[in-house]
């Protein structure tokens, strides 16, 4: 039963390519260069994290790929097809779950399925609730569930559409530390079963190293790729492993000195 949902896995799809992507916003304080000349290829089935200081364009980049924000230069393709708007082939998990509060959890998960005129949308939704460990909560409303459960329901809602790629915008940002670590494993479990391409924005360096094949560091104003760090650690990963710690050191150093190197104001 549980596995049948994974069987629909259709080989390797979900390769995302960004070519010379740029994004400018017009605001009342002038033009803001949110993204500039981004070139990045995300391999099908890989787990990639975007990390960087706030305002460096991580979320903009994710929204551009989702088609929620139009880009002003370059192009984004998914499996060779140009992206020109939002679609169910790219699932999106919002930071504040964004479940529809007027629908029950089951109806939320079935929303996209009904949109696609799927037969047995509710049965399919129940299957996804089971996979994400929400059996028995199908009739609850979002406000009755904890933050972690809502985020899982949101994951189920996106995954039910069988997307080629899943875009996660700080999906665990609003959760407490323990729920967060638990959810990291949950997301990895789903990913390892389905091998959906995952692109996740996060503020948490440990989370990025723990989960990703590759961590992309962005630097702000204008948002550009500072560095790409491949994480070559066996899974499941150990947060206290020496190599894990050295990856953390590398990334933190790069983040701290990203953009400019500041001289200390004075020496003792």
């Amino acid at each position: 039963m549980v596995n049948s949902a994974y069987d629909s896995l259709n080989g390797r799809r979900g390769q995302i390519e960004l070519k010379n992507v740029g994004k400018k916003y017009k605001t009342n304080i002038g033009e803001v260069h949110a993204l500039s000349d981004i070139n990045l290829t995300i391999e099908a089935g890989s787990y990639v994290s975007l990390i960087g200081a706030s305002g460096c364009g991580k979320s903009t980049m994710l929204r551009v790929i989702a088609g929620l924000t139009p880009l002003t230069a370059g192009s984004v393709t998914l499996d060779g097809k140009e992206i020109d708007g939002p679609g169910s082939d790219r699932g999106f998990v919002f930071q504040e779950h964004a479940l529809f509060p007027w629908l029950t959890i089951r109806q939320n998960v079935a929303f996209g399925l009904k949109e696609a005129r799927k037969q047995n949308a509710n049965d399919e939704a129940d299957k996804w609730l089971e996979i994400t460990g929400l059996t028995g909560f199908g009739n609850a409303f979002p406000h009755q569930l904890s933050g972690g459960m809502c985020q899982r329901a949101c994951l189920a809602r996106s995954l039910a559409m069988n997307p080629a790629a899943l875009l996660l915008d700080e999906p665990l940002g609003a959760l407490d530390a323990f729920t967060r670590m638990y959810m990291q494993d949950e997301i990895l479990r789903v990913w390892e079963n389905r091998k959906t391409t995952m692109l996740m924005v996060t503020h948490d360096v440990d989370e990025a190293i723990y989960m990703s094949d590759c961590v992309v560091l962005l630097s702000p104003r204008p948002g550009r790729i500072e560095k790409t760090v491949e994480i070559e650690l066996p899974r499941p990963r150990d947060r206290n492993d020496d190599r894990f710690i050295s990856y953390r050191k590398t990334i933190l150093e790069s983040l701290h000195f990203a953009g400019f190197r500041r001289e200390p104001d004075f020496y003792i």
Binding site: L68, S88, F100, L103, G112, E115
Partner: protein
């Protein structure tokens, strides 16, 4: 057993009904209170002679009314020994019901027994109940006429309000052209249009339909459009990433998400429609509850005026209760979030 509840701070915070009425009245006595009050009222009604200034009625109708109330109270009390729900309800409401009958007794003394108030304008309770009972055929007819006017006008206005509200909420050009119109026409009380509608419409009835519809239309439009513009953008974005297109953005996201606002608009519209209904009937209708009240006033038959008012109040409060029931069902998802 009862004092436990009132001293429990958690109970005090969550269940208001546990705090009031005061627990100094015991549980059983609370349930007995209505019967005691009705018996008292009966005693007053039957034992004290009527003042000669009040016209006599065919039957002692208020006595019949009290006997009926007594029977209901006895049934309730009996039931309360078997059903937990009835027991709680009666223990809570008992004091209030008793209060109502004491108030009626006071009115009875003032009007019927002592005739302290002018009998022409303040008829005895006997005469008011008599008016309702003896004029029941005409009253039923009037209620049906009013209901027809209310329901047809109301649903037309509601539908129109939902449509214009949705258009303003979702379409920029509709918002550009319709909103100013709504802003100018909306705040005018719909009864102001009576002189115009009387010449613009072929009959007084169609004019009344229009006025009632107009009264519901404005608040529904305003609250629907403001509800839609207050829907967080994330819901639409989440919908888009799940494959939703324009149609679903409107009907599966925008409208359901703005239901709390819409119901507020409908509630305001309903109240406005009641005012318009009665006013419209007073002006140009034949039959209808508003017409009845005015007609009886012109006939100087104040007992019938009060009878009409009681029927009107009952009718409207039933309609409002139905609306609240519907709202509670539709807004189940935000239970404990909004209260009004």
């Amino acid at each position: 057993m009862t004092s436990d509840i009132s001293f429990n701070p958690q109970g005090a915070a969550t269940l208001q009904s546990d705090n009031y009425p005061p627990r100094s009245l015991s549980f059983v006595r609370n349930r007995m209170l209505p019967i005691i009050a009705v018996l008292l009222a009966l005693l007053l009604q039957t034992q004290i002679p009527k003042a000669p200034a009040q016209p006599k009625t065919l039957h002692p109708y208020f006595t019949y009314f009290l006997l009926l109330a007594l029977a209901l109270c006895v049934v309730q009390l009996t039931l309360s020994f078997f059903r937990e729900k009835t027991r709680r309800k009666l223990a809570y409401k008992g004091l209030f019901v008793a209060g109502v009958f004491l108030f009626l007794s006071l009115l009875n003394i003032l009007t019927s027994k002592l005739a302290l108030l002018p009998p022409l304008y303040f008829p005895s309770l006997d005469r008011i109940v008599a008016a309702i009972v003896e004029d029941r055929a005409l009253l039923v007819k009037c209620v049906l006429y009013s209901l027809r006017l209310q329901l047809v006008g109301y649903f037309c206005g509601l539908l129109a309000g939902l449509i214009t509200g949705t258009l303003i909420g979702f379409s920029k050009s509709a918002s550009y052209w319709i909103s100013p119109l709504v802003r100018v026409l909306g705040p005018i009380p719909s009864t102001t249009w009576i002189p115009l509608t009387l010449i613009a419409f072929p009959s007084a009835l169609s004019a009344s339909f229009f006025l009632v519809a107009l009264a519901v239309w404005f608040p529904t439009t305003i609250m629907t459009s403001s509800g839609i513009s207050n829907v967080p953008q994330t819901y639409f974005e989440a919908g888009s990433t799940l494959g939703a297109r324009r149609f679903s953005h409107i009907f599966r996201i925008g409208l359901p998400a703005s239901m709390p606002h819409i119901f507020l608009g409908i509630f305001n519209g309903t109240c406005a429609s009641f005012i318009t209904l009665v006013t419209a009937e007073m002006v140009g209708a034949r039959y209808g509850i508003g017409w009845y009240v005015i007609w009886q006033k012109d006939m100087m038959s104040y007992s019938n005026v009060y009878g009409g008012l009681i029927i009107t109040a009952t009718l409207f409060s039933i309609l409002i209760s139905l609306l609240f029931k519907l709202r509670d069902k539709a807004l189940l998802w935000q239970k404990d979030v909004v209260k009004w």
